[in-house]
């Protein structure tokens, strides 16, 4: 059963140093607040899994929380590079980052396999690509029926998955709407799952066939309004495109980045204090 906890308590209880952690959300519903909390609590040696590392992992990598990254596309969507990711890969700052690189189809299938309790995923992929040359985990299997050689990749089974969703009820059942990405699969593939939500309500009023994660499949539900910012929560707020653009100069230099997280993340008690500080700065 999911407990309704503060994000701070949930991270304290369910995320350990050295864990494999997946923060998912395909452009939509990215769990930014949870990434901030991992930085505040100084988690180390994490293996981060995410299809699109995006700003959340630029933060965690630059803050020194990550030892390894498992991913399929790493950029600032619509803007350009992730400078902290690139600095770690190209120059080993703030520490070397091991990378394990896949394609989207591969990782999406790997989450499906993880949620299905299977050791690997099978897909038609990678023929002619150099990716298997640099990632020894991309292998092949021969179909026992047709003889076709197909790609095989290990399933993703995180110690902890964190996702953001629109709402939960008071028992901790969670409703997700809009672009779902791999959130459901990532949640069900993990040993433990934390869900941050915009709102906690008496009745989910979930339409039939809606994506509902039942409370008994989750570890914790945390109320964090705005917790996906600068990404968006369909029905609640839109993508803050300006923030993605503003991130580029902040993350470009080590000094600028460090000053920013010291002030805005390490220097704030929680996400609501961060939001207040950000709003005050924008009002200037």
């Amino acid at each position: 059963m999911a407990e309704i906890l503060t994000l701070r308590e949930a991270v304290q209880r369910f995320v350990n140093d050295g864990d494999t952690v997946a923060l998912e959300g395909f452009t939509h519903l990215i769990p930014t607040a949870a990434a901030h909390e991992l930085i505040r609590q100084g988690r180390k040696d994490l293996t981060l899994v995410r299809m699109t590392p995006d700003l959340v992992y630029d933060l965690l990598i630059g803050a020194g929380c990550a030892r390894k990254l498992i991913f399929s596309w790493g950029g600032n969507p619509g803007v350009g590079s992730l400078h902290r990711l690139r600095d770690a890969v190209e120059k080993g700052w703030p520490q070397p980052l091991e990378i394990e690189e896949h394609s989207h189809a591969d990782l999406a299938n790997a989450y499906v396999a993880g949620a299905s309790g299977l050791p690997f995923a099978v897909l038609r992929a990678y023929a002619g690509s150099d990716l298997p040359k640099v990632n020894p985990l991309i292998r092949s299997v021969t179909c026992p029926f047709t003889g076709e050689v197909l790609a095989a990749v290990p399933s993703v089974r995180p110690d902890v998955t964190v996702i953001h969703a629109q709402k939960a009820d008071r028992k901790g059942n969670v409703l997700i709407q809009g672009i779902l990405g791999v959130q459901k699969e990532a949640a069900l593939a993990a040993k433990r799952c934390i869900v941050t939500v915009e709102e906690i309500v008496d009745d989910l009023k979930a339409p039939m066939n809606a994506c509902v994660l039942p409370t008994w499949a989750l570890s914790a539900v945390c109320l964090v309004p705005g917790g996906a910012h600068p990404s968006y929560a369909h029905g609640y707020y839109e993508r803050d495109n300006r923030f993605y653009q503003d991130w580029d100069p902040i993350a470009r230099s080590r000094e600028g980045f460090t000053a920013w997280i010291d002030a805005f993340i390490r220097g704030t008690a929680d996400f609501s204090e961060y939001q207040a500080k950000l709003a005050a700065q924008e009002a200037k």
């Binding site: 950029g75 189809a105 038609r124």
Partner: protein, 260 residues
């Protein structure tokens, strides 16, 4: 005589390659711009699928990211990412994969991973995303990118997504379904694979572009088809639709649309 930019020529030329009613798996940036221009002009019934899950997206402004809310709101349906790749792409339902690239070679192979050595990269690019399987499984592929010595290279540092591999029947030997890349559309010209060798050669020059310009901006010894056409210049309808799309996008996002 309408005046237009080389970027507009590129986008219009690419949009024209998309047939009405075809099912198109769209990459973000230039492919998304061209695919939506096609939908707003000659191909109103084109079905646009984005890897974040929207099927049949009809955005009025260009998405900045692959999963903007506009795509979901205007789509016929929105499905999870795993389903997009399993049922729709791998299931063989995509007519056209529309891709951009950081670099391309003479066989239509694409690099979006690294410049330099993989383990000690000079430039770390974003990576594969959905491109390797789009390039592999779509019935055909269109590639759009600006042409320069840096982008059209003799040898890719890394093959992220395969076109015709080492040329000839290599793609077939790899067991890949689909015809592979059928055109590379740039700001200078259109290249298409030569029968047999599958090497990309210039089949159409955009108006005012010289062969020398193409040679100067290509990192391999580019060849020209026996008969090289002149690309039809953008017409007033195409230009108006493109400019209105860009203006709506800029008004909404404060920028002209992502070009990753």
């Amino acid at each position: 005589m309408m005046t237009y930019s080389t970027n507009e020529m590129m986008t219009v030329a690419a949009a024209r390659r998309l047939g009405n009613g075809s099912v198109c798996f769209v990459g973000i940036g230039l492919p998304s711009k061209a695919a939506n221009l096609a939908r707003l002009t000659h191909a109103p019934d084109v079905v646009l699928i984005y890897e974040s899950g929207p099927i049949g997206a009809k955005p009025s402004v260009l998405p900045l990211s692959i999963g903007d809310g506009e795509l979901a709101e205007t789509a016929d349906t929105v499905v999870p990412t795993g389903e997009i790749f399993r049922y729709w792409l791998q299931g063989g339902r995509i007519d056209v994969g529309f891709l951009g690239a950081a670099q391309v070679d003479k066989y239509g192979n694409i690099n979006t991973t690294v410049i330099g050595d993989y383990h000690k990269p000079k430039v770390r690019l974003p990576g594969a995303g959905g491109a390797p399987e789009i390039a592999g499984s779509a019935k055909k592929v269109l590639i759009i990118l600006k042409q320069s010595h840096r982008t059209f290279v003799d040898k890719l540092a890394f093959i992220t997504s395969v076109g015709f591999g080492e040329g000839g029947d290599h793609r077939k030997q790899l067991g890949l379904p689909g015809a592979g890349p059928v055109a590379i559309i740039t700001d200078l010209c259109i290249m298409e694979p030569e029968a047999g060798t599958h090497e990309f050669i210039v089949t159409s020059l955009h108006p005012g572009v010289t062969r020398e310009q193409v040679v100067e901006n290509t990192g391999w010894a580019i060849r020209f088809a026996d008969k090289v056409a002149v690309t039809e210049a953008p017409n007033a309808t195409e230009l108006a639709a493109l400019r209105e799309l860009e203006a709506r996008t800029a008004a909404t996002h404060g920028q002209a649309g992502g070009e990753e």
